[in-house]
């Protein structure tokens, strides 16, 4: 196969999965907009009206929505990525191509939903009292960091999942833990000061808070304010380390996937 056409294969695989995700449903793609909105609605009622988290953060509804949307991408991306190799086992056993395409395509599928969700976020931003500033441009490198993080984790999990199906369950629990360890539904201002530092070492927390900083308010706690430069660079190093480890173990095992799955 010509190298240039791996791009087309990646794209076709991602688009196919995206189409299939909504095939047979009446609302189709609308679901990728409705789903996070419904989740947002539930969480908003519980945490803003009952628990009054909203008092701890400016523009809590947008804060919450952005968190949910980014979390959904992280969740779908790593889940799709982890299972992708096993799901495409049939293809792997019959055609030779770089296996990483499969993982990348799975993440692109999740990313397409993420882009649709972001439309909802920006509509919300427009209606709330938030003024988008030049800082909003920082959102782009932040998203790139998130994608790299998802790719790194997916590569590691996909490799492990071909050998041990247990990782499906392990990662489900892991995601559950991360969901609560990351300031998604609660504002970080509610967290006791002595924990904030530890909390912000988590790359997901750093990415989410930076995204809120870029789009919503300069007042949110970020790794810059909680850990301070240059110590906070360790988080970036973690993300890079994860993706490098991911590439390494994935490429080491990839040639045996056809025989193992």
């Amino acid at each position: 196969m010509k190298k240039t056409n791996y791009f087309n294969l990646t794209l076709q695989m991602a688009l196919t999965d995206f189409k299939l995700k909504y095939a047979g449903s009446i609302l189709g793609y609308v679901w990728s907009l409705v789903k996070p909105l419904l989740l947002f609605g539930v969480l908003y009622v519980v945490f803003s009206i009952f628990f009054r988290f909203g008092e701890g953060a400016k523009n809590y509804p947008v804060y919450l929505l952005l968190g949910i949307v980014m979390w959904t991408f992280f969740f779908d991306g790593t889940m799709n990525g982890m299972r992708s190799i096993v799901i495409r086992g049939d293809l792997i056993r019959k055609v030779n191509f770089p296996k990483i395409i499969i993982v990348i395509a799975a993440i692109i599928t999740a990313f397409l939903s993420f882009l649709l969700n972001l439309i909802v976020v920006f509509v919300f931003l427009a209606f709330s009292k938030v003024d988008l500033t030049i800082y909003a441009l920082a959102f782009i490198p932040i998203i790139i960091e998130l994608v790299i993080l998802v790719l790194g984790i997916s590569l590691i999990l996909a490799t492990l999942y071909t050998k041990f199906k247990d990782f499906m369950h392990i990662w489900e629990v892991g995601l559950q833990v991360l969901f609560y360890a990351t300031p998604i539904i609660y504002p970080i201002s509610l967290v006791p000061d002595k924990f904030v530092k530890f909390m912000m070492v988590n790359p997901i927390a750093q990415i989410f808070q930076d995204a809120r900083w870029a789009l919503i308010s300069r007042d949110v706690t970020t790794s810059w304010s909680a850990i301070s430069y240059p110590k906070n660079l360790i988080i970036l190093a973690m993300v890079l380390w994860l993706v490098l480890v991911g590439f390494f173990i994935f490429s080491k095992s990839a040639k045996n996937f056809a025989e193992e799955i």
């Binding site: 056409n5 294969l9 794209l11 076709q12 095939a23 047979g24 055609v95």
Partner: protein
């Protein structure tokens, strides 16, 4: 000038390690997690070497489980060889199986784009060839139908139409002709011929030798992971046929030697030869003629007493007759061949086999008892039915 080979395979060996999954409970799994697992090693390919030249239509034949598909998958770089080298000059189509990546929930159109991407075509290339693909598949009316509504024949047609668009120098084809009807197979071969004309190399795997015979320039015969024969199609196919036949007679022999022969061993049966009245040896007998059966044997030990018996059965299983020297009270000279003369051979047309027994006093303690020691065929001019031919006449009775 001799042309350089497009594919060079040298000392290729592939060993599969099949783990013995014997742990069933979670606890056992946990306990054995870090231990060495027991694996069974299966040698799928054993020191295989060959070369394929550009433009050849190369066949690989062999019985099921001989390693054909493993070889193809290693050539396609899907499996990693355990040892040995492969050199491939040029691009290789991943044409292992038709319709790889087809999804039943998608329309034919979407599946064309997906499958073409799997085969390495760009989006532009697929768009350019889309009409051609659909036209060849004769599915113009169904382009936007979901694939799950297609018959298997339609799916194969679509898959094949896409597959032939793969822009590679070498095509790998695995048993694709096992599916589809005769007309489709014909169409496949026409395409292969055209591809060959434009200088593509085709490697074709099959266990049906007629397809191989018709189209391959050269063939390799694979058996138990080794190349048993390689060369001109006709010669290799003949060897394959011989091999399959030999295998069948091997099993027959085995039964005879293992299950159908027993005894104390002082005397060993050698052969029975059948002679007609002109003393020429025959294996085709005629009802009503006179024959001599000469039984030959070897003496392994000295015996005082020797009796011989023969029982004849039809292949349908009927016990036709049985005679032995003890019942007849005939004393044999030990060491000399035995002759059994049968006048006016009484069996009707058909195939028969015989058991032979050599014994001393007791037939139940034979020196040598041989089941199905031999076979013969009988022809008949008698207009009679049944196993025997009778000397008889009709008469009006009062």
């Amino acid at each position: 000038m001799r042309e350089e080979p497009i594919i060079k395979v040298k000392n290729l060996t592939k060993v599969f390690e099949l783990p013995h999954e014997r742990y069933s409970t979670m606890k056992q799994h946990f306990v054995n997690f870090f231990r060495q697992k027991y694996v069974e090693k299966l040698k799928a390919l054993d020191n295989v070497s060959f070369e394929i030249k550009k433009g050849e239509f190369f066949g690989i034949i062999g019985p099921n489980g001989s390693g054909k598909s493993t070889l193809l998958k290693i050539l396609a770089q899907i499996f990693q060889p355990t040892s040995g080298q492969i050199e491939i000059t040029g691009t290789l189509s991943p044409f292992i199986e038709l319709g790889v990546g087809f999804n039943p929930e998608l329309s034919a159109r979407d599946n064309v784009f997906l499958n073409a991407a799997v085969l390495g075509l760009s989006k532009k290339e697929t768009e350019d060839r889309f009409d051609e693909i659909i036209k060849f598949s004769e599915l113009e009316e169904f382009v936007d139908q979901k694939l799950k509504n297609f018959s298997s024949g339609m799916q194969v047609r679509l898959a094949f139409s896409i597959a032939i668009q793969a822009q590679a120098d070498i095509l790998l084809v695995d048993e694709v002709l096992a599916v589809g009807d005769a007309a489709f197979q014909q169409k496949c071969f026409e395409v292969f011929r055209t591809l060959k004309k434009v200088g593509k190399t085709i490697i074709f795997v099959s266990h049906q030798f007629n397809a191989v015979e018709d189209f391959c320039d050269r063939v390799a015969l694979l058996h138990d992971g080794r190349i048993r024969s390689i060369g001109e199609t006709e010669e290799v196919v003949r060897k394959y046929q011989q091999m399959t036949l030999a295998k069948r007679s091997d099993t027959v022999k085995e039964i005879t030697t293992v299950d159908k022969r027993w005894g104390t061993g002082e005397v060993r049966f050698k052969s029975i030869k059948i002679y007609d009245e002109n003393s020429s040896e025959v294996s085709l007998l005629k009802s009503g003629q006179n024959y001599s059966f000469i039984l030959d044997y070897t003496l392994k030990k000295r015996v005082d007493k020797l009796n011989v018996g023969i029982g004849v059965y039809s292949v349908q299983g009927a016990y036709c007759f049985g005679v032995n020297t003890k019942m007849d009270g005939y004393g044999l000279d030990v060491g000399r061949a035995v002759e059994l003369q049968i006048d006016s051979f009484p069996l009707n047309e058909g195939e028969y086999y015989y058991n032979v027994v050599f014994f001393g006093d007791e037939e139940t303690q034979p020196y040598d008892w041989v089941g199905e020691a031999g076979r013969f065929v009988v022809e008949s001019d008698f207009l009679q039915r049944g196993v025997v031919v009778l000397k008889y006449r009709w008469k009006n009775s009062n």
